[in-house]
């Protein structure tokens, strides 16, 4: 299995993680009437969301043969999903970043910051939608399936919710309902991801051209996805253990999240290596 698309592996997984955790943390701030102190802690920890997003964008430039011309990527907004993806990604980063900066510096009025937060939230969702569509190319039968959409969305749920939970639990925000919901969402998404992975492998036998059979693209796909599933389940269990009975063990939770992240990166690399066209 090649690693040639590593910049995109990192970019897509990190972006999905960042958007997912931003959505969760924003909803906590927007929906709940959290006090000033807790809100300050939440926004302080949101810093790590932007670190993840920033790393994703830095990685993405390594994908370009001519990174100095990166701005040309906006030329086909409205026509090319790749343009749409990059534009919405940059807008998400900009609006979210400005919101975060104003919040941290305590500048601008409450209404404006709330507005920016909601705009960033909305654009983040469109960003994720655009990202899926980049890969739904009608001449690429292994990508142009519901599995692509499902896998991308499940990464938002799994990695996003887990990162948010770590960032939120290290603040003084206390809500049993939120903690419970995080665990349920991650658990359900994890089971869904395993089902999606297995059904996708099974679906490959139906994709074949005169030149390529999808089953030959990654001969060891089953064992790779098995390792991925072991890491995923193991990571989630470690994370759940870190959250067991009141005391939150931060290093253990981070370790669990790290295992899940590695699992997602493997799965995404499998995805990129499943590229083929309807031709030769």
């Amino acid at each position: 299995m090649g690693l040639h698309e590593w910049p995109l592996v990192l970019f897509t997984v990190f972006a999905q993680t960042a958007v997912g955790s931003f959505i969760v943390m924003s909803l906590i701030i927007l929906v709940n009437d959290v006090n000033v102190e807790v809100k300050a802690q939440l926004t302080r920890n949101m810093f790590f969301v932007w670190v993840v997003m920033g790393l994703g964008f830095i990685a993405s430039t390594a994908h370009l043969g001519s990174p100095l011309r990166a701005f040309n990527a906006f030329n086909q907004v409205g026509v090319s999903w790749l343009s749409n993806e990059i534009l919405t990604g940059m807008l998400f980063f900009s609006f979210g970043g400005i919101f975060w900066l104003l919040e941290v510096l305590n500048k601008g009025n409450e209404m404006m910051r709330k507005g920016l937060n909601m705009v960033a939230l909305f654009i983040g969702v469109i960003f994720m939608y655009a990202m899926v569509n980049v890969y739904l190319i009608d001449t690429v039968p292994t990508w142009n399936t519901a599995y692509t959409s499902l896998m991308f969305v499940l990464t938002v749920f799994i990695c996003g919710v887990m990162l948010a939970q770590i960032l939120v639990t290290t603040t003084r925000y206390q809500s049993n309902q939120y903690q419970y919901l995080s665990k349920v969402v991650v658990g359900v998404a994890m089971v869904a991801a395993i089902i999606v992975n297995m059904s996708q492998i099974a679906s490959l036998s139906g994709i074949q051209t005169s030149a390529v059979a999808a089953v030959d693209l990654i001969p060891n796909i089953s064992s790779l996805q098995t390792y991925r599933i072991i890491l995923l389940v193991g990571g989630v269990l470690v994370w759940l253990f870190a959250n067991k009975q009141g005391t939150f063990k931060l290093p253990t939770a981070i370790a669990g999240f790290g295992l899940v992240l590695i699992s997602e990166l493997i799965s995404r690399n499998v995805f990129y290596n499943l590229h083929m066209t309807v031709g030769m």
Binding site: G65, R69, A73, V140, T209, S210, G279, M280
Partner: protein
């Protein structure tokens, strides 16, 4: 809009790859790029017939460059607009605009757009549009010792040779509407055939 195209006579092609090399020489690029590629599709096995075994092996060649499609998959996905269809119907990449993301290569089912690592952007067959504007043939066409390649307005080629653009291992022509006409080899297998395979994957 004008539209040029290629006629590929697969019944004449011997797979000598002079077209491929003439292109490489004229465009002056290295081993990584092959704007025109000759696919060798081959297959066959032993079959039993009343107690005797006969072989039914087959092989034939299809010379493919960019087909300057009516609905180019590469243009649809290009984020920079570098990949575009010209007024004269040629699909070319503006090499001074391209950011080298490779999405066109992901989408094209004919492998026409190719990444040039030295230049940092995509390159592809431009139909030798500069030569064509001077009334000359694309360099691959003129080089073919078997006269298996022809070039001209696609309407004229279709009038002369019919409209077939489907043969294994090419994708169904309905997808991108390529401007090619293929005269089938006697051994030709239909698009989607899986009884054979590409015998020269490292050459194409």
């Amino acid at each position: 809009m004008k539209q040029y195209g290629f006629f590929i006579d697969s019944s004449k092609c011997t797979g000598c790859k002079t077209c491929q090399l003439a292109c490489k020489d004229f465009k002056n690029y290295g081993v990584e790029q092959n704007f025109r590629r000759v696919y060798e599709y081959t297959g066959g096995s032993w079959t039993e017939d009343k107690g005797t075994y006969r072989q039914d092996v087959f092989a034939y060649y299809t010379s493919i460059a960019c087909n300057h499609c009516d609905e180019p998959a590469c243009v649809k996905v290009c984020p920079s607009g570098a990949m575009h269809k010209r007024e004269d119907g040629f699909v070319i990449v503006a090499e001074d605009v391209c950011i080298g993301c490779g999405q066109c290569a992901n989408a094209c089912p004919y492998r026409a757009p190719q990444y040039n690592a030295e230049k940092g952007h995509m390159t592809k067959c431009d139909g030798c549009y500069e030569r064509v504007a001077e009334g000359l043939q694309p360099v691959c066409v003129g080089s073919c010792p078997l006269r298996a390649l022809e070039f001209g307005p696609i309407d004229e080629l279709r009038e002369k040779y019919g409209t077939n653009a489907d043969v294994a291992p090419l994708p169904p022509s309905s997808i991108t509407k390529p401007n090619i006409v293929i005269k089938l080899n006697g051994n030709a297998r239909p698009t989607g055939d899986t009884s054979g395979s590409i015998a020269n994957p490292r050459e194409v």
